[in-house]
């Protein structure tokens, strides 16, 4: 997004519209950055922890003093990354204090553990990709069309997919929800989500179950 004088002033004034735009522009890149940082210093980080870090980073970045400190010249992504780094370091310190480990490593230095975690993440990513490919292969032609429009190379928004399929967005949303429900069942049946069953109550109810 362009930081013209008006946008910068609106941001510094804390106008919700401007803050929302900044958030939506930078949330995804920041999540990627945080995930990459976390791989280097920890044994991988779960999605929840990454999201918590992203949220904490934006909360700090959007504080009045931090907003005033931004000059509109430096890339805002770098500004956020600096805050995220501090958040991660604080979290890492907290963990090490909690479990009595040696002082934390500096973020940015590669570690064997980090590389191992990255490899494990990549392996799990490949497992998920293979499961999704199997799921897709079982879909009807119409379902596969929607799946590809939404999650294929094009990655269309629901509006775009609706346009292509001559449907309304609501219809697309409903079909997508149905597909995802079946995907959950598929993942559970294939063991990806197994281990979450408890006392006869499955994590995800199958269709027809009360």
């Amino acid at each position: 997004m362009a930081w013209d004088a008006r946008t910068l002033q609106a941001f510094k004034d804390g106008e919700p519209e401007a803050l929302g735009r900044v958030y939506r522009t930078h949330a995804e890149p920041l999540a990627r950055t945080v995930r990459a940082m976390a791989w280097r210093v920890q044994r991988g980080r779960g999605a929840l922890e990454v999201e918590n870090t992203v949220l904490e980073t934006f909360a700090r970045a959007f504080e009045p003093r931090a907003r005033q400190a931004y000059d509109g010249v430096r890339p805002y992504g770098h500004f956020l990354a600096g805050i995220a780094r501090n958040v991660l370091l604080e979290e890492q310190r907290g963990r090490e204090v909690a479990v009595g480990l040696a002082p934390f490593e500096e973020i940015g230095e590669e570690s064997a553990e980090g590389e191992g975690a990255g490899a494990a993440q990549a392996l799990e990513d490949r497992e998920v990709e293979a499961l999704l490919a199997s799921f897709k292969a079982e879909l009807s032609e119409e379902e596969r069309q929607l799946f590809e429009l939404r999650f294929g190379e094009d990655g269309l928004a629901q509006e775009g997919a609706a346009e292509r399929m001559q449907l309304t967005r609501i219809q697309v949303r409903r079909r997508e929800a149905g597909l995802k429900t079946r995907l959950l069942e598929f993942l559970q049946a294939r063991g990806y989500l197994q281990g979450f069953e408890s006392k006869g109550w499955s994590l995800f109810k199958r269709r027809g179950e009360s």
């Binding site: 995930r35 779960g46 959007f62 999704l132 959950l184 109550w201 995800f204």
Partner: protein
């Protein structure tokens, strides 16, 4: 690993994946998963699948819910709910619009109105998730429906955008809306005497509504004291946060 017995958390995980979790549920889920290893692992695994599907580190539904959480944390009121899908209430405490000509005593009255249950035969034709978009009145994604509800709670009639709802004195008009995305909504009319009649919200400015299908509005309007002496054109305007009109539709109320 211990077995978590929090069924609500598990349902929230499912709703998050399917795209039906609201902000409040998301915050509760995150708070729970932070302390529960089993749910945290489920959260991580499902998010990994979503990320793989969307080829994003932060799935869009998560991004939108986090935005809401961020604004709530900052104490800001923007929070354009992009994926919120609140549960439809079964019984509403209606509030009344108060035209200037009607006594203020109306505003203090509280009546419980049973939310009209839509009969299967009167649902819009595009209600089927797999039906192709075609002709007819239901081609617009945005729309409203109005119901005439008897004092006993049964529905006497209903009309969708472009139609006419006949609702006699003593009954109540109840609106629902359909919006494919979060928007601002205003439903209003102008009386024969030129007075503005605000059906939703009570104020003159539009109010935020979440995306939803046939979501019942939390206001209903008793037809009494003669505010509906003749057919009245009701305007519903859906707009975005910047006030740009997304859709406008009308229906007619008739005594």
């Amino acid at each position: 690993m211990t077995r978590c017995a929090d069924i609500q958390a598990k349902q929230a995980l499912r709703a998050l994946f399917v795209g039906e979790l609201d902000t409040e549920g998301f915050e509760r889920l995150c708070a729970h998963a932070s302390k529960c290893a089993e749910c945290r692992e489920a959260y991580d695994r499902l998010t990994r699948v979503e990320s793989a599907l969307e080829k994003r580190a932060l799935p869009q539904a998560h991004e939108a819910l986090m935005e809401q959480a961020l604004f709530a944390r900052l104490g800001l009121a923007q929070a354009p709910a992009r994926v919120s899908m609140p549960e439809r209430p079964r019984v509403l405490r209606p509030r009344f619009f108060v035209p200037a000509a009607v006594g203020l005593a109306l505003a203090a009255t509280v009546v419980l109105v049973v939310v009209p249950r839509v009969q299967p035969g009167v649902r819009p034709q595009d209600d089927s998730g797999w039906q192709a978009r075609g002709g007819g009145a239901a081609t617009s994604a945005f729309g409203i429906r109005a119901f005439c509800v008897e004092p006993g709670g049964s529905v006497r009639g209903e009309a969708r955008s472009g139609g006419t709802l006949t609702c006699a004195e003593g009954n109540t008009v109840q609106f629902s809306y359909t919006a494919p995305q979060a928007a601002r909504l205003q439903i209003e009319a102008t009386s024969a005497g030129g007075e503005p009649l605000h059906f939703f919200p009570q104020e003159s400015a539009p109010a935020d509504v979440a995306a939803g299908v046939d979501s019942v509005l939390p206001y209903s309007t008793p037809v009494q004291r003669g505010w509906l002496p003749a057919p009245l054109d009701v305007r519903a305007t859906f707009s975005d946060a910047k006030g740009r009109v997304l859709s406008q539709t009308r229906l007619r109320l008739s005594p």
